[in-house]
């Protein structure tokens, strides 16, 4: 059971993308296919993130994945234990992973209830035969391969694809705030994982050897430039500007952050204006991926503070 404290807090958030290639490159025993090498810069970025996470000693990891798509509502994994074999439908040649995970059901229920209070349509996933999506699994493996911390998995309602980007992301803002309230109420030390790639322009053919790194580079120069611009703003802690640019970034770089995880995480953290730690950047089949950390505990922002509320308000007004 997760340890509890008087009042819960989000101690950190990570941008934690999910290309299955990273698991493939690492060759953990859970994954069937074997590789020679590959995507080291990103894998080593995750190694640094793993160390930070370990030091934070969270009770729970919350992960929002674009590859659990729910057209009706925002769903939460709500079964204590889930296991199975996850085969990536796009890259079955490199990702066939046997997983077992424990869910913090009480927190999932609280997130679900708080989301409903925010006017969102929310649902718990109670079916024990459910197959967890490969985005959730890849992100969780890459950040914590020990699988010893309970998780809360959130689906992508994909509202930004059905509504306008701005309207959809406003829903993700509410989901983030609901998540924060639930964490605080239940007294969890929580880490948030936004499972998103940045620029999502990709190649349409895989090299014959998937880990042939001589073929790996950004698919598009403009996409790469967008990624660097956004990462640099995040490194400066210029959150306001990042969120002002976000819709344009999404449109022009086909950024996967459109699916909402990034906004959800920032809303939950109170849009902190603190410099992000960039653990590393790399491309996977041409897409741009950054592993980044916002350590709220270090920045002494892990408690609800009027400053973060104020900056959140300012950002909403700017939008």
């Amino acid at each position: 059971m997760p340890r509890t404290q008087k009042k819960g807090a989000i101690v950190a958030g990570f941008l934690a993308p999910h290309p299955p290639h990273l698991v493939y490159g690492e060759n953990p025993p859970q994954n069937e296919p074997r590789s020679q090498c590959g995507w080291e810069q990103l894998r080593w970025a995750y190694e640094r993130a793993r160390k930070s996470l370990d030091a934070l000693k969270p009770d729970v990891l919350l992960v929002h994945s674009p590859h659990w798509i729910t057209q009706q509502g925002h769903h939460f994994l709500g079964v204590p234990q889930l296991s199975g074999k996850s085969v990536d439908p796009i890259f079955p040649n490199i990702f066939r992973y046997s997983f077992e995970l424990n869910v913090d059901v009480a927190l999932a229920e609280a997130c679900c209830a708080e989301g409903a209070k925010q006017g969102l349509y929310t649902k718990l996933m109670r079916n024990p035969h459910f197959r967890v999506d490969y985005g959730t699994i890849t992100t969780l493996h890459m950040i914590r391969p020990q699988w010893d911390i309970p998780v809360v998995g959130l689906s992508a309602n994909n509202s930004p694809y059905y509504l306008s980007t701005e309207e959809g992301l406003e829903e993700m803002d509410r989901l983030g705030r609901a998540t924060r309230t639930a964490i605080e109420k239940l007294g969890r030390r929580a880490v948030l994982l936004a499972s998103n790639t940045l620029c999502h322009w990709h190649f349409h053919e895989e090299p014959a050897l998937p880990e042939d790194m001589s073929q790996e580079h950004p698919q598009s120069l403009s996409g790469y430039q967008w990624d660097m611009r956004m990462i640099d703003l995040l490194r400066q802690g210029n959150t306001k500007e990042v969120f002002r640019l976000l819709p344009q970034f999404i449109d022009e770089a086909f950024a996967e952050v459109k699916s909402g995880a990034f906004t959800w995480m920032f809303a939950a953290m109170g849009y902190p204006e603190i410099p992000a730690e960039l653990h590393g950047y790399g491309t996977v089949i041409g897409t741009g991926n950054a592993v980044m950390e916002w350590n709220l505990e270090q920045a002494k922002l892990s408690k609800p503070a009027s400053k973060t509320r104020a900056s959140r308000r300012a950002i909403r007004q700017a939008a």
Binding site: W68, I69, Q71, Q72, V87, P89, P92, R96, N127, N157
Partner: protein, 271 residues
């Protein structure tokens, strides 16, 4: 002609997992009627394309000789599981993989234990081919393929089946209008999201029933945009391609709402 029967069916799990809800039960009954017609046509193989099997790199084809499992829909998990057992015509599927280069499409064979079979394929197979007795060829929906290219894929698959002297049932799995309700509704009173989608669906169904191929070709591009046809109605392209555009009419076994989207069970008349 290799094609002995052809169908369009919805890929929503609702008629399968929740048929006691009257609007969805009506679609389930229609699917069973289509299943009877399919079996009576005595096909050697079913060529099935589901809009829900998404591919983004190559055109994927299932080539594992037997696929089975218990699937839970990502969205409708509360209504239970979808068990499936499918027999694959690997000879024909592999022929498709090898031949698509001739129409400029790179294909890949999918032969992995645990590969996720999409809800649409399972629902269609369970209604139209209960027990998985008839071998199938399963084709993916590559998001970068358009209507015309999907027609070519359907035509090619049917032609290759003909070469192997097989009688073919062709099935396209997907919705008519794809717009759906995003929030909780009273499911017993399910209806189309908006009257315009109902009008569009009925217009396309009438053209199919009348066997008006020219009218259909003219209407489909606008149906894709204004009627928000599911995935540009590419499941229709698959069937029309396999038929070489030749059909004389169609029977609508069922039509109705599936959480706001348009679900229709259509059997093409071939003579």
């Amino acid at each position: 002609m290799a094609v002995v029967s052809a169908f369009l069916v919805p890929g929503s799990p609702l008629p399968y997992v929740k048929r006691d809800n009257p609007p969805w039960g009506k679609i389930a009954t229609g699917l069973e009627r289509a299943g009877t017609a399919l079996v009576q046509s005595k096909p050697d193989v079913i060529l099935l394309y589901s809009t829900q099997w998404i591919a983004v790199l190559d055109q994927l084809w299932q080539t594992r000789s037997r696929v089975s499992g218990l699937h839970v829909d990502e969205n409708w998990h509360e209504y239970g599981e979808l068990p499936y057992v499918l027999k694959i015509d690997t000879q024909l599927a592999k022929a498709c993989v090898s031949a698509t280069g001739t129409i400029g499409v790179k294909s890949k064979a999918v032969n992995y234990d645990g590969f996720p079979i999409d809800t649409g394929t399972i629902v269609a197979a369970n209604f139209l081919n209960p027990g998985g007795k008839i071998p199938m060829v399963l084709a993916s929906n590559n998001l970068y393929h358009d209507f015309a290219l999907t027609e070519k894929l359907g035509r090619l698959a049917a032609r290759l089946a003909g070469k192997q002297k097989k009688r073919v049932a062709v099935v396209g799995v997907g919705n008519f209008s794809g717009a759906f309700f995003r929030h909780e509704i009273d499911i017993a009173k399910d209806k189309l999201v908006a009257p315009k989608y109902d009008r569009w669906n009925k217009k396309i169904l009438a053209l199919l029933q009348a066997g008006d191929r020219r009218g259909l070709s003219a209407a489909l591009p606008e149906f894709a945009t204004k009627g928000q046809a599911d995935m540009g109605f590419k499941h229709g392209a698959w069937v029309l391609g396999a038929l070489g555009g030749k059909f004389t009419g169609a029977q609508v076994h069922a039509y109705g709402p599936l959480y706001g989207s348009g679900g229709a069970v259509v059997e093409f008349r071939l003579k």
